[in-house]
Symmetry: C2
Subunit: 498 residues, 2 copies
Amino acid sequence: MSTYDEFIVAVKDIHRLQALQGHLGWDRETIMPEKGAAARADMLSWLAKEAHGRLVSPQLGRMIDDLATLDNLDEDQQANVREMRRAHDKAVKLPEQFVADYARSKSEAMMAWQKARADSEFSAFEPHLEKLISMTKEKIAYLEVEGTPYDALLDEFEVGMTVADYDPLFAGLRQRLVPLLDKIMAAKASNPDPEWPEHLQFPIEEQTAFCTKVSEAMGFDFQAGRMDASTHPFSAGLWPGDTRFTTRYDLSEPFSCLYGVMHETGHALYEQGLASEHAYTPRGAAVSLGVHESQSRFWENQIGRTPAFWKAALPWFTEHFPDAPSWDAETLNRIANNVSTGFVRVEADEVTYNLHVMLRYEIEKQLFNGDLAVKDLPSAWNSMFKSWFGVDVPNDRLGCLQDIHWSMGAFGYFPTYTLGNLYAAQLLESMADELGDIDQIVESGDWSTLLQWLGPKIHRQGSKMTPAELIESATGSAPSPEPFLRYVESKYSRLYGL
Amino acid sequence: MSTYDEFIVAVKDIHRLQALQGHLGWDRETIMPEKGAAARADMLSWLAKEAHGRLVSPQLGRMIDDLATLDNLDEDQQANVREMRRAHDKAVKLPEQFVADYARSKSEAMMAWQKARADSEFSAFEPHLEKLISMTKEKIAYLEVEGTPYDALLDEFEVGMTVADYDPLFAGLRQRLVPLLDKIMAAKASNPDPEWPEHLQFPIEEQTAFCTKVSEAMGFDFQAGRMDASTHPFSAGLWPGDTRFTTRYDLSEPFSCLYGVMHETGHALYEQGLASEHAYTPRGAAVSLGVHESQSRFWENQIGRTPAFWKAALPWFTEHFPDAPSWDAETLNRIANNVSTGFVRVEADEVTYNLHVMLRYEIEKQLFNGDLAVKDLPSAWNSMFKSWFGVDVPNDRLGCLQDIHWSMGAFGYFPTYTLGNLYAAQLLESMADELGDIDQIVESGDWSTLLQWLGPKIHRQGSKMTPAELIESATGSAPSPEPFLRYVESKYSRLYGL
């Protein structure tokens, strides 16, 4: 066996162990009996330990060193060596004991957060958050990266992105989104959005059938995947031929399910479109959280929340919900795009969503690069929210306790959500340049050309390039916020007649 | 870490890998999307290879050798050393290349068998069976066991059992079962069994609710397990707190589902009752196929196919199937025990079931210890069937192609089904000695004392003893066919007024 072949065997072993974790995670969130929780946690941590042991193994390090000296590797092989180099070098810097302690602190913090959020009691979470932040700072020190401490965290979730990239990006967005929001809120005051009729029920079977139809129309292959229910919708690209996503149901309105399904189907189409001949290697895996989010937001918002979508979907909607008001496509679209200054990120519209993300980014930056103390976090959150959204946060449950991420030690994750929105808008502009009027395609109900455009440019590329290179290669331009701003300003100006 | 602790870490790793195979196997048979098949097969074979590599590792061998010299191990520890010694010593005798070739031949044979069975075309399966038997003989040679070649196979599925044990056992059974069958068939001719009304439908939801009720009454903990549907019912004790079983539905009658559920719940109660503190070690695992089958057959037949059961279950039956004929408990019980000379083992009653098993045993014995050629297998099968059951086998699909076992290379497996029936009857006699009238307990609908009797004597014992020692320890007598013969003769004499 050549060194590269030997290396790939080791790489695949690591990714197989991770894929097994993904499978057990899916099972836990969808169908596991409750008393299986302890053994499941134990099995997941065993798999993580097995994968970590192989990732940090000196043999793998030596193979990577040897491969770096070769000049006959093709681009796919180079991508695998590059990505494994990054993962290995990072992993070996963290002492084994630290990794184990950190994992335990995270799972304790998550339990504390669940209770603290339910009780809206920040003080119950505070010591755990304090500990996680202090351990995360310790981790940053081990990683010995250049740049600011927060850069080390940002890089973990979107390779190559730093404070120096995000700061001007977010400032530019904020500068145009805050005034747009003000104008929308003023317009809404005189022309309120239509609302779902009270007491009307949308049966689960009909929601499932309607959403399955939409997911199929998007191109999801149900012979190579499943849709199930879970508390928090998610998507899991388990392995070739088996991609699963979940949704949840609100009996009083079908849009929470619908847009959850479109979002998760967007993720799932990326997974179904990966190059299966590269399965269990970085080359065959999604490149980043930001690019992944671009796929979900593309379908959920830029396709799904348009009058064109509703022109195609209205007959399906009427078929499955004959008792709903006989709204036309424009009205359904207006409901689907309801802008509000709600407190919760995951319920936010496209205008406020990125403000929610930026708020978290600013807080994280102050926690790691500045001197914000954990005890001052709630007041920092609330005063920033007031100044951007114009409303007072009534309690920490709707404020700084709302997201799970910090309890998982996932600091630096949030900005990738905004990257997803930006990438999606940039892809849409580029797609329109090549395919012509996208609205016309969407209206027709046959969306196969959209998926056919994304497949070779994004999905099949896996991690061959870095995220920024991938977006540039797909669209011809480096990542930029301008397409998103053009998109959101034009969309909402039309919606609210601004 | 002591040598024993180190040994246990290695043992648990092997069993975790096997448990993961069990989980993926369950998923494949119940919910996997069809295009996931290839990646699933690949992942299962990777897990098998990982487990095998650890099982044959020289380090494990050395630890076992070291532990064998210690005299301070307790009984549980000794059981783990004994069982791992057996597994390791057997595994190291098989060359790695042979194991891989054998696995591939088995999966090719299974595909060929599926098609051959569908077409009732033995010749399409013949070359594969020929190859599997020849490779199995090669395997027997590697194993270097004492006794006849077939003994090596029998021992794999029920440790310690040989042709010298089975021959007299089966001869004794046959001697009394064949005349019993003749008498029953004569009695049936003048007094036919009642039948399910044509055109009546038993809705799946009602069958599920009814069977869930029965399974719960048996003691299955649905917070620590699930019931799902699959083509072939099975039970999988995945890991502590998570035991899953399946059933299948026949819309025209509910007994195929009911007795499938009672059978699989019997298996599942064994798994739920194992000592979880010994999880992922032999001490915490079921001891043998024969003992496992005793648990399923105990509940399915000795509890479930009795008038006492139907006295308890009649109200549930009526509640869920209000349109069924208003049969009394005796009539339902008569239907549940319908003896027939059908050709198919898995549909057989308690009298003919063991004849089906013995037929396969005799064939296997001739294949490995005698000189039966594979090409002569169908005629050997058909003539033995004619002489024991009195009817001609119409085709190989209903004859020697009916079971999956040989296509999986599982030669020597069938006899454990009969052991299960014998053990179950012996346990029932012993239980009655201690608990008093079992019918009275069953009639009451509160069966908890039955499970409480089985728990400490069988379930929690895991593999602490050998199967024969376990039965003797639970019942006070060595395994014997007499309790079964007493049971079956008395039961059917009463049923058919012989």
